[in-house]
Symmetry: C2
Subunit: 190 residues, 2 copies
DNA sequence: CACACAAACGGAATCCGACTCACCTTATGG
DNA sequence: CCATAAGGTGAGTCGGATTCCGTTTGTGTG
């Protein structure tokens, strides 16, 4: 029994307010100090820490929700496009998504680059989503085999972690290069 | 006249000791707090800060020295291999180089991902080294045009910033994918 | 409705790094 | 050998995350 009681009403409210405040803060870039997030949510830091082990845990949870949304898209893309096109679109989408703000970018990077168990679920979900696209591409001989979602994810995590001014343009170009690289080894590339 | 006097003897000694201690500390991974680095060098933190503006500046300087070495290699590689092979080798070499330790990995990431003028020189040098390889590849129609060293560098910086357990294998695979992606757009690929 | 009390909250205090500064020490060149 | 400016020291400040415990409040009894 992981969750003993169903959380008191005010507690649930605060938890949600904190997540909303954090998301907002990250989108706005604000360096998003814990105090600031708590203030936005109308609670004290102590409350924040009652709900989230550490600042990172909060970041992770916010991102996990975003990730859950993203992970639903491969299926939709595959229904509408050829596997390679779906893959390309998704890679670009990931970059766009990382662009929602630097706060998010850092969170993404953390999620991708850390071994902390906290991030395992999100990473697995994303990797699975990418696997779906890669497998479809491989099955259609449009994408090289021998690559799994986890690896591509790491590359993207690295790319999206970039913080320099023109990062987004560069990230998009690199995503394209990755995409071409992934197609390159396929049976009927060219 | 940027450097007024030639530095007092003890000052130069301490400066070098600090750089050596920092390099050592980074290689050993130790989280390398400033106090720790100063201690290893046998000086006080104040001395460290007399020589280096910030902790990052010290990191950057250590890395700049490493970078200078790396930047000499493209010319050598081009003398011995075809441009595309030289490029491939250099990309893999960069990953190996980042592998000297996590401390270094972080430094590399900082250098690649930051706009801070502190890192401009190192970044420019590396970008120039890569440009050299890319230009040779483009001239021989072995590499796509329209890509510059700065972009590739960012991708690698992101990749090498990964901190998870199996990062190196993944980084090598990704470097290969990037390489294939770079060749893909060339006139006579295939 | 009032009570009991565990759950939740607040926010001052603590901790942990990087970084600073007022004061001492010592090369150096005259 | 002295004057003096370059250099060194390390306790202290500062900015952030995190903790702790006294106070408040939702909730399920009677």
């Amino acid at each position: 029994m992981p969750s003993s009681r169903p959380l008191r009403a005010d507690a649930r409210r605060n938890r949600e307010a904190l997540l909303a405040a954090a998301r907002e803060a990250f989108l706005a870039d604000d360096d998003a100090h814990v105090e600031e997030i708590a203030r936005r949510a109308g609670v004290a830091v102590g409350t924040l820490y009652r709900h989230f082990e550490t600042r990172e845990a909060l970041v992770a949870e916010v991102y996990r929700q975003e990730v859950a949304e993203l992970c639903a898209t491969p299926a939709r893309l595959l229904a509408q496009h050829a596997p390679d096109e779906a893959l390309r679109t998704f890679l670009l989408l990931l970059v766009e998504h990382a662009a929602v703000g630097r706060g998010m970018g850092e969170a993404l990077e953390s999620i991708m680059a850390t071994d902390s168990p906290v991030f395992d679920d999100a990473r697995d979900e994303m990797a699975r989503a990418l696997d779906e696209l890669l497998a479809a591409g491989v099955a259609a001989d449009l994408v090289r085999s021998g690559i799994n979602g986890r690896i591509v994810l790491r590359a993207l995590g690295g790319i999206c972690g970039m913080r320099a001014k023109g990062w987004k343009d560069d990230a998009l170009r690199i995503a394209t290069i990755l995409y071409d690289g992934l197609r390159y080894g396929a049976a009927n590339h060219g």
